[in-house]
């Protein structure tokens, strides 16, 4: 970390929410119980694909203790939701397309009565053959799950001339990669509260990633003025993209309208969360990459198919981002890339940290490793040779106008202790059947929305009577720690102690719309929005001080925690309390707003679904693994994470993200997958959904390289997603380095590695 003159920026400020989270005193929304409350339950579809012939709720309604039973008939407005296309019914009417589909809702006096009532609802289904394979779904033999067929979106990016490129090539690699259906596995499953206030207003308290959009989706289903709905989406027990889409908000709203003003709570069991919650898209990625003898990449041909399950959610955007990123941060002159987002009856896939880039990075970075091996080149050298720099053109053909840190991250990787001493680490095995290897991979991830989606931020700052500031930012803190960064930015710019800042997030009544907490955008967006609001607050305070002391504003100086007026009688101090009192007495506003638009690229690549982005964060990972060749078990022993996050606002926060992301990437690569069979979830809960525990957590070192991003708050970019991306391929490459097998079907479970070892030994 470079020395700077800031008081908070770039310093390891402890997280403001840490004490109450660590000690367990923080109550999450789903922790609350109220007098007079009722329990809500959702009836999910029995089958992955079926027609509904009839729904009979009379038995459930007559069960003592049942408050209401609702079906599609009780939806006052539009029966659908979905961030991009609202193709998912709130409550299914005539067809169910996955076992997560909601068919009816119950509110009852107790949870058990509600569960029992759910079991008494009689739904007459006509079963249909589920479509469970994305490739089959695309064929003409498959039944159409939606009006416009099963291909929800098809994106294409082409550049250069493929034919000649492959002819010129010295090395061509062609492989198919399969990736798992990763679950967000947040600690707090989907849930929350709904209540209709005595004045008819609806309050929905439900953890989410974008309260304002949730409110609009609720309003659409209820045919209700959104201004009469308040959504509180914070605090959140983890989200990772899994609470970006509507979870239970609309159910809560519908039930609240029928519960006589009593609060209604829904809290999904883990089992229901597994079935109904969105997942990461499983991808099939076919990739053909060509290079010259000297390592220059010539061409990349990619066909990626994403299984979005029954509904689109953000699937279209996920495949678009995947295709935008599938050539890595390299300049490959000839590319032919296409991606399909396909409907099936396999649950629902949607937003998840990395947003499609994880799946394609695994492919390109494996190919990079294979090319290096074939050419006898150092894998870092090969990447350095092909990495683009600021001002150069990327593989998809657009010029990078913002900061690019790839080279710096690779140079740092080259000189880090683990890489320099890799031969020693590899030799250092404890038992004869253990093999060690070190792998490297690099990747990038866009920050902010693509072209075609307005991207804006807004913040409020309010001076309170006690002389503190309330900073409101719509963007929720989904665990990444942005609240602390917001406080740092506000305190730094207002020139006050951080203790004087309270940050309010995720509440439509208290904050302005600042867009969603996705796309690694919230530090950048919220930080810039606060920076836009601060001058207004300074003007308010300066004017107040000048009026109070009857001097011209030029004679007001901004001090630390106070303002000074240069009067004829010398320097007079105005504390924030005094300034508040003055403003209050004179009925002047104590609250200001700041708004800003995120910079964007002007020209969209045709058919790309929103590419290119203007800003990207970059990162290189190194991983040291040990493979037990007797059992196929892999242990990740060490990880080095080298992010380019622009200027680091909070090193401790960055490390938190880097470490959490690495662990999530380890889970993705080695353990995690929600298994499905015939449209039914085989993985029921955490008994068999394996996420890393502390015993699977290696030593993780974080060495940020700082490539200042001129447009960012204090030069910062975003980092929330890329921290879990290259580690996937780094581990895959390390497994190869250790044991000589390439696992292209993730997760690389002991069984898969063992089988690969066994068939290799048979071949040899």
């Amino acid at each position: 970390m470079k020395e700077n003159h800031f008081k908070y920026i770039g310093r390891p400020v402890p997280r403001m929410d840490a004490p109450e989270k660590v000690t367990g005193t923080l109550k999450y929304m789903t922790d609350y119980h109220f007098e007079q409350m009722v329990w809500g339950k959702v009836l999910r579809s029995k089958y992955p694909y079926a027609r509904i012939k009839s729904i009979n709720t009379s038995k459930a309604e007559s069960l003592p203790g049942v408050v209401c039973v609702l079906t599609h008939k009780d939806i006052p407005g539009f029966n659908g939701f979905g961030i991009v296309v609202p193709d998912q019914p709130v409550l299914a009417r005539d067809v169910v397309r996955c076992t997560g589909d909601a068919v009816a809702l119950v509110a009852a006096e107790t949870k058990e009565i509600a569960e029992h009532a759910i079991s008494l609802i009689e739904v007459d289904y006509e079963r249909l053959n589920p479509v469970t394979d994305a490739e089959f779904a695309m064929s003409s033999n498959a039944p159409s799950l939606h009006e416009n067929g099963n291909i929800h979106s098809h994106v294409i990016i082409k550049n250069g001339n493929m034919d000649t490129a492959f002819e010129e090539a010295d090395v061509i690699l062609e492989n198919t990669f399969y990736s798992p259906r990763q679950m967000h596995a947040f600690i707090e499953t989907e849930g929350g509260w709904g209540i209709q206030e005595p004045d008819g207003m609806l309050t929905i308290r439900c953890p989410g990633q974008y309260a304002y959009r949730d409110r609009l989706q609720i309003a659409r289903a209820l045919a209700m003025n959104p201004a009469r709905i308040r959504v509180i989406s914070h605090p959140i027990g983890g989200a990772f993209g899994g609470k970006d889409e509507i979870t239970v908000q609309i159910y809560l709203a519908l039930l609240a309208l029928h519960s006589g003003g009593r609060p209604v709570k829904i809290h999904l069991s883990r089992e229901e969360s597994v079935i109904a919650g969105i997942k990461r898209h499983p991808f099939k990625v076919e990739m053909k990459t060509a290079a010259k003898k000297d390592g220059t990449l010539l061409a990349n041909q990619v066909r990626a198919v994403a299984d979005t399950g029954a509904y689109a959610s953000l699937g279209g955007a996920v495949i678009a981002l995947a295709i935008e990123h599938c050539c890595g941060p390299y300049k490959i002159p000839n590319v032919d890339l296409e991606g399909f987002c396909v409907y099936t009856n396999n649950g629902i896939s949607g937003a998840f940290r990395g947003f499609g880039v994880n799946q394609v990075c695994a492919a390109i970075e494996t190919h990079m490793d294979m090319i290096a091996e074939k050419l006898g080149m150092d894998p870092i050298e090969l990447r350095k040779k092909n990495a683009y720099e600021k001002g150069e053109r990327s593989s998809i053909g657009h010029e990078l106008k913002t900061s690019v840190g790839t080279l710096k991250t690779l140079e740092t990787a080259e000189t880090c202790e683990l890489w320099k001493n890799r031969e020693m680490y590899k030799k250092n095995i404890s038992e004869p059947w253990k093999k060690r290897g070190i792998g490297i991979a690099t990747s990038f991830h866009a920050v902010g929305m693509g072209i075609g989606l307005p991207d804006y931020g807004a913040a409020t700052i309010e001076l309170l009577p006690d002389g503190t500031f309330k900073v409101g930012v719509g963007c929720e803190d989904i665990g990444g720690g942005n609240s602390t960064v917001y406080a740092q930015v506000a305190a730094e710019l207002l020139n006050c102690d951080i203790e004087k800042i309270t940050v309010i997030q995720g509440d439509t009544a208290e904050t302005l719309d600042s867009g969603t907490v996705t796309a690694s955008r919230s530090t950048y967006t919220g930080g810039k929005a606060i920076a836009a609001a601060v001058p207004h607050m300074i003007r308010v305070l300066t004017e107040a001080a000048s009026a109070q002391h009857r001097v011209e504003p030029e004679n007001i100086l901004i001090g630390e925690n106070e303002y000074y007026a240069m009067t004829k009688n010398g320097e007079q101090v105005s504390t924030y309390e005094k300034l508040y009192a003055y403003l209050h007495e004179n009925r002047l506003s104590t609250k200001v707003e700041g708004h800003f638009m995120l910079p964007k690229e002007k020209e969209e690549l045709p058919q790309s679904g929103g590419a290119p982005h203007h800003l990207y964060g970059y990162l290189t990972h190194l991983a040291l693994v040990e493979v037990d060749t007797l059992t196929g078990e892999t242990e990740v022993l060490r990880v080095v994470s080298i992010p380019d996050a622009g200027q680091v606002l909070n090193p401790q926060g960055l490390e938190g993200q880097a470490e959490g992301g690495a662990v999530m990437g380890i889970g993705y690569t080695l353990y995690e997958d929600v298994l499905m069979d015939g449209g039914y979830h085989q993985t029921a809960n955490f008994t068999n959904y394996i996420i890393p525990t502390i015993r699977e957590t290696p030593v993780i070192e974080t060495f940020p390289v700082e490539s200042t991003e001129e447009t960012g708050p204090f030069g910062a970019k975003g980092i929330g997603e890329v921290v879990m991306i290259p580690i996937i391929a780094a581990i895959m490459n390390a497994i190869y380095d250790a044991a000589g097998v390439r696992i292209m079907h993730l997760p690389a479970t002991p069984e898969r590695i063992y089988k690969a070892l066994k068939s290799r030994d048979v071949r040899q």
Binding site: T110, E112, H116, E431, W433, D628, L630, T631, E633, Y671, L675, Q682, T683, T687, N688, I690, P692, T693, I694, R695, E696, T749, P750, E751, Y754, K755, K758
Partner: protein, 297 residues
């Protein structure tokens, strides 16, 4: 019937508990640490009238040595077993198995009686009890009977215990100073995982050599109950336990197991892993013996 309607009785003594169990009109389920029971309750699997809470029956919680026998009360938690110097000395294989149960939370709450009561083919303490030749004592109001661990389990979740019987003691012979043991587990990850395969090994070694005078090997998670690997055991005494010998013995293991495929692993992988774990286990055990550290602690 709702789970919340199941009442709980908390007898103060074993006798009171046994009396309650004699009531044929009601159905009961014993509750020790609850780490299995609560999961089943939430799944709605058990529909009994009463929980019989054993927590207050202090006489079921003990670790003692009498002459050449070790006695463990069923209410003893995994953590208590792990930290018992007596068991560290005389039942290393059991101590290691308890260390592999879930993670700290499960070890603090879960009991050995509960692990036996659940009778899962993947239960981690069970192969260790096989390896130790443990005897399980069942008590009802009319008396006690002793069943060897190997005869105790009938199938997944099924034991020879009658509804009016409760496990009151687990015992086995103290081990000589040439008896060494080891537990190996292969799960989908290191902590909080259900065994894909596990194995418990107990060997009697000839002093100053790598020769084995006899031993027991038991596999978990590769059949309807835990299984003894008698062919492998017979091979233990054929010669010095060199790496080659170990590899030969282990290669026989797959013939002794009958695993099924499930969501965690395929049958063929499990079968191969029985051999792999045995090889790894014997190698580590002999290395420890050779390094002269009888205890892995």
């Amino acid at each position: 019937m709702y789970a919340s309607e199941i009442d709980m009785l908390s007898p103060r003594s074993l006798l009171e508990c046994l009396y309650l169990l004699e009531n044929e009109k009601a159905s009961f389920r014993l509750l020790a640490g609850g780490t299995d029971a609560v999961v089943r309750m939430k799944e709605g699997k058990w529909q009994h009238d009463y929980w019989l809470n054993l927590k207050n029956i202090d006489e079921l919680k003990f670790i003692t040595i009498e002459k050449d026998e070790i006695h463990i009360g069923p209410l003893t938690t995994h953590s208590e077993i792990i930290s018992s110097p007596l068991l560290q000395d005389h039942a290393d294989v059991l101590v290691q198995a308890c260390r592999e149960v879930g993670a700290a939370q499960m070890q603090n709450m879960g009991t050995i009686g509960g692990n036996i009561g659940t009778a899962s083919p993947a239960g981690d303490t069970i192969p260790a009890l096989f390896a130790l030749g443990a005897i399980i004592e069942l008590t009802s109001i009319t008396g006690k009977r002793q069943v060897s661990a190997e005869d105790f389990f009938v199938g997944p979740g099924k034991t020879v215990a009658f509804p009016n019987e409760i496990i009151t003691k687990i015992s086995f012979k103290v081990r000589g100073k040439h008896d060494i043991g080891l537990f190996q587990k292969l799960g989908p990850r290191k902590a909080q995982s259900i065994s894909i395969v596990n194995v418990a090994i107990s060997l009697s070694m000839k002093e100053g050599t790598k020769e084995c005078l006899g031993g027991r090997i038991a596999f978990g998670s590769v059949g309807p109950t835990v299984l003894r690997a008698k062919k492998c055991e017979a091979m233990l005494t054929l010669g010095e336990l060199s790496p080659d010998m170990i590899s030969n013995i282990s290669s026989v293991a797959w013939k002794e197991v009958m695993p099924i495929s499930d969501i965690r692993a395929s049958a063929s992988y499990r079968r191969d892993m029985a051999s792999a774990l045995l090889e790894r286990g014997l190698y580590r055990l002999i290395k420890r013996w050779a390094d002269n550290e009888r205890k892995p602690f």
